[in-house]
């Protein structure tokens, strides 16, 4: 008799608990707005293997072009100077005088 009562009590408790869980789940599914997820703050990962080429390719290219333009203009100034001095004393030696232009490979 006691066992029967115990089992009856347990079944009642379990039934009530199940009902509570189901009610909770049902209420959650009926929420008007889904729970907002906070924007994840993603910390910048350390770029152990990043190089200037990946991080600032455009800036690097502009700096390279600027350097080449500077070298070009220096080369032209040097060549112009040699040509003008050739006019003052035209000889094969003055015509082919070497300069220290950064664009000349000797």
């Amino acid at each position: 008799m006691g066992l029967i009562l115990l089992m009856l009590g347990l079944s009642i408790v379990l039934t009530v608990a199940q009902g509570v869980v189901l009610a909770y789940l049902w209420r959650e599914s009926q929420d008007a707005e889904p729970p907002a997820l906070a924007a994840a703050q993603v910390a910048a990962s350390p770029q152990f293997f990043a190089t200037a080429a990946t991080a600032g390719a455009a800036d690097h290219r502009d700096a390279r072009v600027d350097m080449l333009l500077d070298q070009l203009e220096q080369h032209i100034r040097l060549e112009h100077a040699v040509a003008e001095s050739f006019l003052l004393a035209p000889t094969p030696a003055t015509l082919h005088r070497l300069t220290d232009s950064p664009l000349r490979v000797h």
């Binding site: 290219r61 390279r64 072009v65 080449l68 333009l69 070009l72 203009e73 032209i76 060549e79 112009h80 040699v82 040509a83 003008e84 050739f86 006019l87 015509l95 082919h96 000349r104 490979v105």
Partner: protein
């Protein structure tokens, strides 16, 4: 400064004043373009103050770049194509600093030379001297580049 300009070399002060009166003064801010490659050449310019860079286009890493090939300082004249057919500028001119120019229109100049041929004769002599010197300089520069090409290709 105008009297010492290469354009006026050999002219008496009175003639320099008469020619100067034919023109107008122009002030360019740094970076201002005076004329571009291919533009009609209708005005001669005498630099009185500042500096004008003359550039030509090159392809550098797939992009068009203006490369400075010469510079005009006070006393220099630019825009000689104004007096040389086909009257088109073969360079781009850009003010490097705040620059003041005396600008002389071709038709007014030529009309003056017709009225005063002695002045026209001296100015054309000056033109021939400037262009001749420029031709010889660039001829030498070109030959030096050809020598470099030969050295690279044939050791």
């Amino acid at each position: 400064m105008t009297a010492q300009a290469d354009f006026f070399a050999g002219l008496p002060a009175s003639e320099v004043a008469a020619l100067t009166a034919l023109g107008s003064r122009v002030v360019l801010q740094p970076g201002a373009v005076l004329f571009r490659l291919g533009d009609d050449a209708t005005h001669l310019h005498v630099v009185e103050r500042g500096a004008v860079a003359l550039s030509m286009p090159m392809q550098v890493e797939g992009r068009h770049q203006d490369v400075r090939v010469d510079e005009c300082l006070p006393g220099h004249t630019l825009g000689w194509s104004t007096l040389v057919p086909p009257h088109r500028f073969t360079l781009k001119a850009t003010a490097r600093l705040q620059t003041e120019l005396l600008t002389l229109p071709r038709d007014v100049l030529l009309a003056h030379f017709t009225r005063v041929p002695d002045v026209g004769y001296i100015v054309m002599q000056n033109l021939a001297a400037v262009l001749g010197q420029r031709l010889q300089v660039f001829q030498a520069m070109w030959l030096r580049e050809m020598q470099h090409v030969v050295d690279l290709s044939h050791g």
